[in-house]
């Protein structure tokens, strides 16, 4: 999820890594990140020599604690002679490329998304998923690809102020583009994924006709939108714009809309309707040293109960539909993977983004800039 690789995240990560609650290795990784040291420098860490230890790279913050409790602890319990270290510095595409091309692959498992797997897998950056150990049937068909297997779900959802329009609330993107009925500032992310889809839905395009995306049509909609909206680059900044009353409706990550609702005691809420759901996934860098242990670990993270626990710790939606059974009605309301919520959303077009993400991002930025 490149969406979290922002500066705010670096700072959060660094704070987390130096609070003293963590083992020295993560401090080291954190300092590398804070100092901007290239990831290859991490091989200087003496712990790297430990072949039995897997290195899982995710995006830091609560995800370090959450994944440790839900995924790593049960794994280490089952295989007491194995170890897993979590490095929260974020497997961005440029870092993966740098590591694989340098030939010193120190990571084993990376937390990223399916469209990146489809984008860089064919370039030879990733190992193919070993589906003899990992179970494809535990996820929906759209969440298993050759180079990546879904590990949790997230969604970009319509988030709104519940009191601003006298009891009326927006329920579709058409409402968000209706500046008369719902006056007030909007917020979107300055990234193409889900932002273009929302524009097309507002223009009346049905779910099954969204892909391939008609760029001109989507960007024309955003040209009408831009004077009414802010386009945030840092997700925390977008969340903040809602919280301090600067914006009243727009698109936000479900894992941010949920704490926003709690922080404001329900002043803000979100709807799953016309949300865009995305599969985060495990990817393995080409030349990873962990061997079979990698696949054993990934297979264990498919356990529905473990995924249900992860949702409770930081809002990451279970990718295994079975997990809903381990959650009560209240928890399933915030679960993007619950059948009724998932059905309301558009599954993000990973094949389209694997081919077009870079060009689409540039075109969106150009269209928005004054």
């Amino acid at each position: 999820m490149s969406d979290m690789s922002d500066r705010q995240g670096d700072i959060e990560r660094f704070v987390q890594n130096t609070e003293g609650k963590v083992y020295s290795r993560r401090v080291f990784f954190g300092m590398c990140a804070a100092l901007g040291v290239a990831p290859v420098a991490a091989r200087l860490s003496p712990a790297m020599a430990d072949q039995k230890e897997l290195v899982l790279v995710n995006w830091g913050g609560d995800a370090v604690r959450g994944m440790k409790a839900s995924f790593v602890d049960p794994y280490v319990k089952k295989f007491p002679d194995r170890k897993v270290a979590i490095d929260g510095t974020g497997p961005s595409t440029s870092r993966i490329r740098l590591m694989v091309q340098s030939g010193k692959v120190t990571w084993d498992i990376m937390d990223r998304n399916l469209h990146t797997a489809l984008e860089i897998g064919p370039e030879g950056m990733l190992e193919k998923i070993d589906y003899s150990v990992v179970d494809k049937s535990k996820v929906r068909p759209e969440h298993a690809v050759e180079w990546g297997i879904g590990n949790y779900l997230y969604a970009m959802v319509l988030t709104y102020n519940t009191k601003k329009w006298g009891g009326e609330v927006p329920t579709s993107w058409k409402d968000v583009w209706d500046f008369k009925k719902f006056p007030g500032k909007r917020a979107f992310r300055r990234e193409p994924d889900a932002v273009l889809e929302a524009a097309l839905m507002a223009d009346g395009v049905p779910f099954d006709k969204i892909y391939p995306i008609d760029m001109k049509r989507a960007l024309d909609m955003h040209k009408k939108m831009k004077e009414h909206a802010i386009y945030y680059t840092v997700i925390a900044d977008g969340q903040n714009a809602f919280r301090n009353g600067e914006v009243h409706l727009g698109q936000l990550l479900n894992t941010r809309a949920w704490p926003l609702k709690q922080d404001t005691k329900g002043l803000y809420d979100w709807t799953w309707n016309e949300g865009v759901s995305w599969g985060a996934c495990w990817m393995v860098p080409k030349g990873a040293q962990g061997g079979k242990a990698i696949w054993d670990f990934i297979a264990m993270t498919q356990d529905p109960q473990a995924q249900a626990e992860l949702l409770k710790s930081n809002g990451y939606g279970p990718v295994n539909p079975e997990a809903s059974k381990f959650l009560d009605a209240d928890w399933n309301k915030v679960n993007p993977g619950a059948a009724e919520n998932y059905a309301k959303m558009l599954p993000g077009g990973i094949e389209w983004y694997a081919k077009n993400a870079t060009a689409a991002r540039q075109q969106l930025i150009d269209a928005l800039s004054s």
Binding site: S94, K185, G245, T358, L368, S369, S370
Partner: protein
């Protein structure tokens, strides 16, 4: 580097010692600054393939041209406003007594010590639709709807002028301090009105200060990154952020380094042009 003229002739043979002393700093500069800079220059003509294709984009890509124009427009506006406000402050400082001067200097320098990031977030809080500025204006009944002061080009300008103001004030003040006030008095005694004395005597004498401060502010404004990114609401794209997008997201390093090179060359060209009209060393107090 000690200049030759400052050194008594008898000491010349010892120059080697000075060189030794500055060697570590020089080596660090070459290693950590010039080598990466050379790498940037080389990348701009070799990625994705050797040649000047990246530089051609300056003439062919509307996306690049739009960003350059936005950058120039905002830098020019920032320079204009910063000079206008800075001139007034510098003029007042010149006329004030020494304790007032110290206080004013302190107030001008205060923002220097606060991070640009913190200042940008502070502006967002102050200028947003529910911020104290809009709330105050509405409470006084001056406006009915909150003014769009931030997350747009206005916000970027306010933030950038704030950062640039000390540069304008200090440069102008240094220049004004060197002007003989008796010249204005002389003009008055010869029958010029206050305004005439200012316009025909004082203002022309501050021309070097205006040119110097203007160039300095303009050059620094060209490279702004954090302020437009935060205060522009994602809609004001200046060249530095455009470079960052190319390096981090679209991974078109050739394009990114080409723009960085272009920016650097423009700055050098502006400094060269400045050096033709002014003694740059004296202007910056060297």
């Amino acid at each position: 580097m000690p200049s030759q003229s400052d050194t008594p002739t008898g000491w010349r043979p010892r120059h080697g010692v000075y060189w030794l002393i500055i060697m570590p700093a020089l080596a660090m500069l070459v290693l950590l600054y010039l080598v990466p800079l050379a790498d940037v220059l080389v990348t701009s003509v070799t990625d994705p393939k050797p040649g000047l294709d990246n530089f051609l984009l300056l003439f062919t890509s509307t996306s690049v041209q739009k960003t350059l124009l936005t950058t120039l427009r905002i830098a020019a506006l920032t320079t204009f406003v910063a000079l206008l406000l800075g001139y007034v402050v510098a003029y007042a400082m010149r006329a004030a007594n020494s304790s007032q001067q110290r206080l004013m200097l302190f107030c001008v320098l205060l923002p220097f010590w606060i991070s640009v990031l913190v200042r940008s977030f502070a502006w967002i809080a102050l200028l947003s639709s529910r911020g104290p500025v809009n709330a105050g204006l509405m409470a006084w009944g001056l406006i009915d709807e909150p003014l769009p002061l931030v997350r747009n080009e206005t916000g970027v300008l306010i933030g950038m002028v704030h950062v640039m103001l000390p540069y304008a004030v200090l440069t102008l003040y240094a220049n004004m301090r060197g002007i003989d006030v008796r010249l204005v008095a002389a003009a008055r005694s010869l029958g010029a009105s206050r305004f005439q004395a200012f316009r025909m005597v004082f203002l022309p004498l501050t021309r070097p200060g205006l040119i110097g401060a203007g160039t300095l502010v303009f050059i620094l404004s060209l490279g702004f990154y954090v302020t437009p990114a935060l205060l522009g609401g994602g809609k004001v794209l200046m060249i530095a952020e455009y470079v960052a997008v190319q390096i981090n997201d679209t991974l078109r390093w050739g394009l990114g380094t080409m723009l960085a090179t272009t920016l650097m060359l423009s700055v050098l060209a502006a400094l060269w042009a400045l050096s033709r009209v002014l003694d740059v060393k004296r202007l910056f107090g060297a």
